[in-house]
Structures are given as structure tokens and as C-alpha cells.
């Protein structure tokens, strides 16, 4: 079953074509990595998927519904969860309140249920012992984990992670890989990543963007051996 697909999705900024005519299908249950050199249009593309950026042309379909004109907050309610490229949490609120905010509209005021699900999510990512701390006092790595906890606490159908390992230490990256592998069965994951090691270890399939268009798609092995992909990366650094 295709969870998310786009047809002819494009975005123009004045004369610049950031994303051009992208057709894309994401089957349910898959872990897909979206990679490409800097400036390839990945963030713009994902912005159009999540609803943060309006499309210039084309359609986005999620769970069988055309969501092209649906505002971002409604897409979240429809089953998407999104983590920002630069971690965006509530620094002045405690860790547990950060996660509580993420799921309160689902539990509809049942504070007991909210507390339980908050605890579960924090446990899942491994920061349950920091629940009372102010989110801004956490290390960067833990803040990233908090953001992921906020995402998964919503029990989304699609989890979009925008460069999740950026700024993490090697050990934290290994923990992250384990976490993603653990989540893989429960939800579909779309991962924008620069770290090829992470991609190879977690992705079922990879889509490569270059210059706003899809350059290649396939299994990690196929992409690894693809000459055009290598040229794109080596050519533009």
C-alpha cells in the first residue's frame, strides 16, 4: 500500500527551480532515505510534503487523500510527524511537557493517559531519567532524541526526520541507528540524511535528488554502485 506519493511536484522561487517535477512513491512500512548533494532540493521537497512550503505545481497524496492544499497542522493530524533540521523544542519547558504537548490533542485531556504515553516515548528514546529537566538544559544529542520522542509519541503513520544525526557524536549515532531499526516495523520513516553510514545501516530504499530532480532510486546496494550518483556527489562535493 502506498502511504505517500507525489506527482509532478515542483517549487519555484522566482526564476530558480528548486524542485522540478518529482514523482515519488513511498510504500507503507518502508524506511526510505532521501539523499543528495547540498542544494539538491531535499529540504524544499520535504517542506512541500509536510506542508510548510506551498507547492508551485503538482500533487501530494497521503493515505489515499490529496493533501496538496491541506495546511501543515492538518497533515500532522492526518498522521505525519516531523522533526526539524535544526532541533526545535520548547527550551523553557520541562522535557515531559514537551512530549505532552505533542500528544495532548490525541488524548483529549485525559492527563493520566497523557502521562503514561509521555513516559513510554521518553523510555523508548532513552531519556526517561531526564523527564523533569528543562529541555533547554539537555545536551544537543538529547534534545534531538527528545524531538524524536515528540514525533513518535504521536504514533504517526509517517515519521519525517530532517537530518537527524547532524551534530551527534559517533556513539549517539549508533544509538540512533538502533532506535530507527526498532521503529521500522511500526511506522513508515522518511529520512533526509547526509551521513551515508547511517543511510546504509537503516534504509530499505534510497531516493537520490540532484538539482531538484530524482537522479536515482533503488536499494542501498544499487545506489552505492550507481556511477551517476557517485559523480553527482564527487562532482559537487
Amino acid at each position: 500500500m502506498t502511504l505517500l506519493s507525489t506527482r509532478g511536484l515542483s517549487r519555484q522561487f522566482g526564476g530558480l527551480k528548486a524542485v522540478e517535477n518529482v514523482d515519488f512513491d513511498l510504500p507503507e512500512g518502508q524506511v526510505r532515505a532521501l539523499i543528495g548533494p547540498n542544494g539538491a532540493g531535499k529540504t524544499t521537497y520535504v517542506g512541500m510534503l509536510s506542508g510548510r512550503i506551498p507547492a508551485s505545481a503538482g500533487t501530494v497524496t497521503f493515505r489515499g487523500q490529496d493533501v496538496t492544499n491541506m495546511p501543515a497542522h492538518q497533515r500532522i493530524r492526518a498522521g505525519m510527524a516531523y522533526t526539524f533540521q535544526i532541533t526545535s523544542i520548547y527550551g523553557r519547558l520541562p522535557v515531559h511537557e514537551n512530549v505532552a504537548l505533542a500528544l495532548r490533542w490525541r488524548t483529549e485531556g485525559d492527563e493520566k493517559e497523557t502521562a503514561k504515553r509521555v513516559a513510554d516515548a521518553l523510555e523508548r528514546v532513552g531519556i526517561a531519567d531526564r523527564a523533569e529537566q528543562l529541555a533547554g538544559d539537555l545536551s544537543y544529542g538529547h534534545q534531538r532524541l527528545l524531538e524524536i520522542a515528540m514525533g513518535i509519541s504521536q504514533q504517526p503513520r509517517l515519521l519525517i526526520l530532517d537530518e537527524p544525526t547532524q551534530g551527534l557524536a559517533d556513539s549517539e549515532i549508533e544509538d540512533f541507528i538502533k532506535l530507527i531499526r526498532g521503529l521500522a516495523g511500526e511506522m513508515t520513516i522518511l529520512l533526509i540524511e547526509h551521513n551515508i553510514h547511517v543511510v546504509m545501516q537503516t534504509a530499505d530504499a534510497i531516493t537520490v535528488l540532484n538539482g531538484g530532480q530524482i537522479l536515482a532510486e533503488g536499494t542501498p546496494k544499487e545506489i552505492h554502485e550507481n556511477a551517476a550518483v557517485q559523480a553527482a556527489y564527487l562532482g559537487t562535493g
Binding site: 509536510s50 510548510r52 495546511p71 501543515a72 497542522h73 492538518q74 500532522i76 493530524r77 516531523y82 526539524f84 526545535s88 523544542i89 520548547y90 527550551g91 523553557r92 519547558l93 511537557e97 505532552a100 504537548l101 505533542a102 495532548r104 490533542w105 485531556g109 515528540m150 504521536q154
Partner: protein, 314 residues
């Protein structure tokens, strides 16, 4: 005792204290406190938008005046009695909040501040322009005979104080309830990180609009109450000064706290009262206080208390 229980106990205790003071305060302070309580409702209305949602309006006098004139013009020119006239004041405030909210929320940050300032200024000028009905700057007195609800004469100091207390308690307890619910917490989330809140699935625009409606209507209730209880309506209450006052009171007392607005209003009222004995330039105190607050204590009195000691304070 849970935090919620503690909060309710504290705030009910404050109401009880104010009730007790009704019987012991000397006349001068008795009248002042009644005034402070009504103005604190205005501050609490402002706090809902500024302290909790994080939107700085420079035009709240428009809402205060909508309530005041909605009520007093109805009494003066249509001959209605006080009760229904108060409702007209509230309705006026609600309508004005809706109009201003829908328009001003299309802007953000500094533009929002200026837009609200402009709308309020237009309102003030309109009060002057229609001076035939409003008597402009001079204002008009609302006769004692009209200031009655259900036979109770509100110009009597004791009745007036109790009416002010009822209004104050209502506004304070409404605020307390709102901040404890999911809606209140989303407002705080919007203040802290609007984009994140949007991407968690919340309709940020709708929340901001509701916050403006609540804030504006509460401010209008204060304006209508002030006109009714103190028997006067004048253009000063629509002027820029009355848009700055609630900002000052809330900042001083503690933005984003329930008790802060009252503490700030009380403090500032007496500070200005004392300095106007010394000089006609008493607004100097307001200016110095604003500068000192922004430099050294942006959290305000109750805010600092919460930060340093009493963490559960709402």
C-alpha cells in the same frame, strides 16, 4: 497537595483576603482598592494575550474603551438600565476583538504592534470625532440613579467594592482555569515556539484568534465595569496611555502569571499615587519603571518569585 489544588487554594485565599479587607480598610484605601481590582481585570485580559500567548498589543485601550462606551452610551443615550448595558459593553468588546483579531493576525512581530496601535489610535480619534455623543476628552458622568443593578446602588462604596471584587474574582478564576487546560498550554507553546507548535498539529491561527477574543472581551468587561462603578466615561481611557498601562502593570507584576497583573496594578497605582503628590510629572515613574524592568527584571515581581522559589505558581 497537588499543584492544581495548591493554585486554587492560593487564589481563593486571595479573594477571601480581599473580601475581608472590605470591612477593615479606611475609606481612602477602600476606594483605591476597588479601582485597582477593576483595572487588574484589564491587566489580566492583557496578560492573556501578552503573557501567555506572547503577542504584544499596543492597542488594548480600544477594547477597554469599547466596553466603557458600549455600556455608558447605552445608558446615557438609550436610557437602558445598568445590567443590559453591561452586556452591550461586553458584546462591543467581543465584536471589536473579532474584527481586530481577524485583521491584525495577518501580521506578526513589530508590524502587529503597530497595527494594534493604529487601530486603537483610530478608535481614540473616533471618540473625539463623535464628540456630540461622547463629549470627547471632557467625557460625561453617569448619573447615580442609573448605576444600579437589581436595586443595589453601586455608587455606595461597600457595594461598589463588592461588585469590583466579584468582577475581579471572575476574571482571575477564569484565567486560572484557562491556563490549566490544554488550550492554555497550547497558548504557552505558541509563545515559546510557534513553528514547532504548528508542526505538532495545532491550528495556531485559530488559537491566537481565540486568545484575542478572550483578552479583548475581558478588557472590555473591565472598561464597562469601570464606567459603571466609578460613574464616568472619557476619551482618556481610549488613549495611547491606557494601552501602555496594562503592559506596564503586567510587566511589573509578572507576565504569564495569574496573580502578576493584580500585583503589578496595585504596585503601580500606589507608586503613581505617591509621586503625583510630589510632582505633576508622575508619569516619569512609569517611564523609569518600564526601562528598569526591561533591563533587569523582565519576569516581573511574581515571575521572579516563581522562577526562584515557588515553581508551581501558575
Amino acid at each position: 497537595m497537588s499543584d492544581t489544588r495548591k493554585s486554587w487554594s492560593l487564589h481563593l485565599a486571595v479573594v477571601a483576603l480581599l473580601l475581608a479587607l472590605n470591612f477593615v480598610l479606611p475609606e481612602y484605601h477602600h476606594g483605591n482598592l476597588a479601582r485597582v481590582m477593576v483595572l487588574a481585570c484589564y491587566a489580566m485580559g492583557y496578560n492573556m494575550l501578552f503573557g501567555y500567548t506572547g503577542l504584544l498589543s499596543l492597542g488594548h485601550a480600544l477594547f477597554f474603551a469599547s466596553g466603557m462606551y458600549g455600556m455608558s452610551l447605552t445608558v446615557q443615550h438609550l436610557g437602558w438600565s445598568a445590567g443590559p448595558a453591561m452586556l452591550v459593553g461586553l458584546a462591543g468588546g467581543l465584536a471589536m476583538s473579532l474584527a481586530v483579531g481577524l485583521l491584525s493576525l495577518r501580521t506578526a512581530g513589530v508590524a502587529f504592534m503597530i497595527v494594534t496601535l493604529m487601530f486603537a489610535q483610530a478608535g481614540y480619534l473616533a471618540v473625539l470625532y463623535f464628540g456630540e455623543y461622547t463629549r470627547g476628552d471632557e467625557g460625561f458622568v453617569i448619573q447615580k440613579a442609573s448605576r444600579q443593578i437589581m436595586g443595589i446602588d453601586l455608587s455606595d462604596p461597600m457595594n461598589r467594592y463588592l461588585a469590583a471584587l466579584i468582577l475581579f474574582a471572575a476574571c482571575m478564576l477564569i484565567t486560572l482555569r484557562v491556563v490549566q487546560t490544554g488550550f492554555g498550554r497550547v497558548l504557552v507553546a505558541i509563545r515559546e515556539n510557534e513553528e514547532r507548535t504548528r508542526m505538532l498539529g495545532y491550528d495556531v491561527h485559530r488559537h491566537k484568534l481565540l486568545a484575542i477574543l478572550l483578552s479583548g472581551t475581558m478588557s472590555a468587561a473591565a472598561g464597562a465595569g469601570y464606567g459603571l462603578l466609578f460613574g464616568y466615561a472619557g476619551a482618556t481611557f481610549a488613549s495611547v496611555q491606557y494601552s501602555i498601562f496594562p503592559l506596564l502593570w503586567v510587566l511589573l507584576g509578572g507576565a504569564g502569571t495569574v496573580l502578576g497583573p493584580f500585583i503589578g496594578t496595585l504596585f503601580m497605582f500606589y507608586l503613581i499615587d505617591l509621586s503625583s503628590d510630589i510632582s505633576t510629572a508622575y508619569m516619569l515613574i512609569a517611564g523609569v519603571t518600564l526601562v528598569l524592568l526591561t533591563l533587569f527584571a523582565p519576569q516581573g515581581l511574581v515571575g521572579e518569585l516563581r522562577r526562584r522559589a515557588v515553581r508551581w505558581l501558575p
